[in-house]
Symmetry: C2
Subunit: 380 residues, 2 copies
């Protein structure tokens, strides 16, 4: 199988990830809730995972990271935990449903939402964000890169706007964690939602939220935390406050190994490799008649997510043919991001998406281009 669905879940994982998940599953207990050897080992593994996450995002305090089921949960906690009735939040038209749907739920209870429109390549003008700021604006909430077009957002500039105007800045790093440099300090990121199972090469069922010290955040779930157990009220202690119930210890252990792998390879090396393949793919596909490529043409402006269509052909059919006839895994449809498709004009058709990862090779890209070429000849 040639796997180009890394934007959904990266595959394969480094061997150390598989091994660590298995080791922890076979040997560890319940973290933070017992003092026996197996429980302590589970606690140690999770703490080490927090430290690894800190290292790649330049986070100072490991206790400011809450592990979650996925990025979606992290975004929900960030938005619902911080925004109150009467607050205004600015977002973009390139967001995933994991951002837009909770925002629409909040709009229903009196939070004001402004959606800044991107251009047809998915680009946001920081000036438009600045212009959208009002008296009651509390937060800018934005993806770091689009999961449809791969467009990289001007995070640094928007971080500066947030700093100047004293706003909270929430970044959705679903497509960038492990691929682009993220520095919560220099980029002025107050809340960072990240997946474990994509660019960090951990297992599905992992993700997290960084919350800068001083940000007042409410819970969306309460429960046992292994701390202040004498109280029937949720403790205010981080990360316990946001981590009720038994965590996904084997998954988090795998994530720890995924991050270690990334740090050993180097994010710059990963980015360079993915950029190279993305460039090859775009240049190859450009030569094929009937192929439409979305997003910026310049690979410096995008991550390894490439959405295309073939004129007069259903994207579901293309994806099906790629899988069955060529053994190539891609994804077709709306990629849980209706607004982004409205923005680039593909809400009716959807797109076929290649999600490039570190384990993809030039040979695989060549195969993919050939396959698309062959399929394009099947059109009427």
């Amino acid at each position: 199988m040639i796997y180009f669905d890394n934007a959904a879940t990266s595959w394969p994982k480094p061997e150390s990830v598989y091994k660590e998940v298995d080791r922890v599953l076979r040997n560890c207990g319940n973290p933070g809730r017992g003092s026996h050897t197996m429980a302590l080992e589970a606690g140690r593994v999770i703490f080490e995972a927090r430290q690894e996450i800190c290292r790649i995002f330049n986070i100072k305090d490991p206790m400011r990271i809450a592990f979650t089921l996925n990025t979606t949960e992290a975004l929900n906690i960030a938005l619902k935990g911080v925004l109150k009735e009467g607050d205004h939040v600015i977002t973009s038209s390139m967001e995933h449903n994991s951002m837009i749907r909770p925002l629409m739920a909040l709009q229903g209870i009196g939070i004001e939402v402004t959606i800044v429109k991107a251009n047809s390549e998915g680009k946001i003008d920081p000036d438009d964000v600045k212009k959208a700021v009002k008296k009651n604006t509390k937060m800018i909430a934005m993806t770091h890169a689009s999961n449809v077009t791969g467009t990289i957002m001007p995070i640094r500039e928007i971080g500066n706007i947030a700093r100047e105007m004293n706003l909270i800045f929430l970044v959705d790093a679903a497509q960038t964690a492990g691929v682009l440099d993220i520095d919560v300090e220099s980029q002025n990121i107050h809340l960072l939602a990240f997946p474990g199972h994509k660019g960090l090469y951990g297992p599905q069922g992992t993700g997290g939220l960084y919350i800068k010290e001083g940000i007042d955040i409410k819970t969306i779930k309460e429960g046992g935390t292994g701390s202040k157990s004498e109280s029937i009220y949720q403790p205010d202690l981080m990360p316990d406050k946001l981590e009720s119930g038994t965590p996904n210890t084997p998954g988090i252990a795998g994530l720890k190994e995924g991050v270690k792998f990334i740090r050993s390879v180097g994010i710059d090396v990963i980015r360079e490799h993915e950029k190279q393949l993305t460039k090859m793919l775009i240049e190859g596909l450009k030569e094929i008649k009937k192929v439409i490529i979305y997003g910026p043409q310049n690979v410096e402006e995008r991550v390894g997510v490439v959405s295309i269509r073939i004129k007069d052909m259903d994207v579901g059919e293309i994806s099906y043919l790629l899988d069955r006839e060529f053994g190539i895994a891609t994804r077709s449809g709306l990629h849980c991001a209706s607004l982004a498709h409205s923005t680039i004009g593909t809400l009716q058709t959807g797109t076929l998406r290649f999600g490039i990862g570190y384990f993809n090779t030039e040979k695989e890209v060549v195969e993919a281009i050939k396959a698309i070429e062959a399929i394009s000849h099947k059109t009427p």
Copy 2:
């Protein structure tokens, strides 16, 4: 290691669980969000897990099960999804913080909570529940068995009260799923929150909520669901509505194998084995001077959770000595259940807890009794 912390997380898991987690992690994609072979296989695995869960709880429709990170999340969705301002809910004084803490959060926004008090063995009188019903009562929310005393609650009787009085019945099966018979139909359970990583022998990071058809439930998280992606609003479709974002596919795959294992052994056989060991343990411990045993003496009235103290000795120290000197894993403290400890009079001291599982043996129980006897001689 002799492992008696099964009430926190069961260990070991059946070999098939380890193998399936590894297989899925190595071979599957993102379920419900792509049509390539690896994505479809992930979808198939998760659907099969739903079917397995249906079989053990007598649930008719697999689409009425939402997978969650843990039981805590399931309880939060059940309580916050159903209760509205002005509603009244009845619970017990034996609840885990996973029930009490979200209820206290709800109390803060205008939901009325009545806590029915158990006796010193942790028993609830169904009549007390009935007496607590008021005009605005909407729900009875109760654990199936205490995680502190092991006391089994009169679920059937309370289910009947719920039926008679037209109330919604939420059951927390954290200590009973896979151990006691649960039949959502005959026990009139509308909402069933269950862990994956305890009696169902799945991995940590899994759990779920059953929602009876016709129960109107709101979301606490929204996001990408792989369905109705053209809409910026959360779809009303089950289980997608309650399962935003990428699920823990390898974990759920392991859970599926855990449930298969239970069904192949038979819940009755598991219950009988655990009852036998519990009886041995209680009878052995009774003979030791200075040991105080909590909960019902009759093993028919309890699950394999046994809380004890040794007079004049710190429970943390006992647990530490058991681990270091005898290689026996137990848990000491308040077990995230302050109210239950208030009820049985151990809020100041906590208890030492044995959590018995199917893989424990008579020999291990004998060792544990001997160890407690030896430790009891160390008291002043």
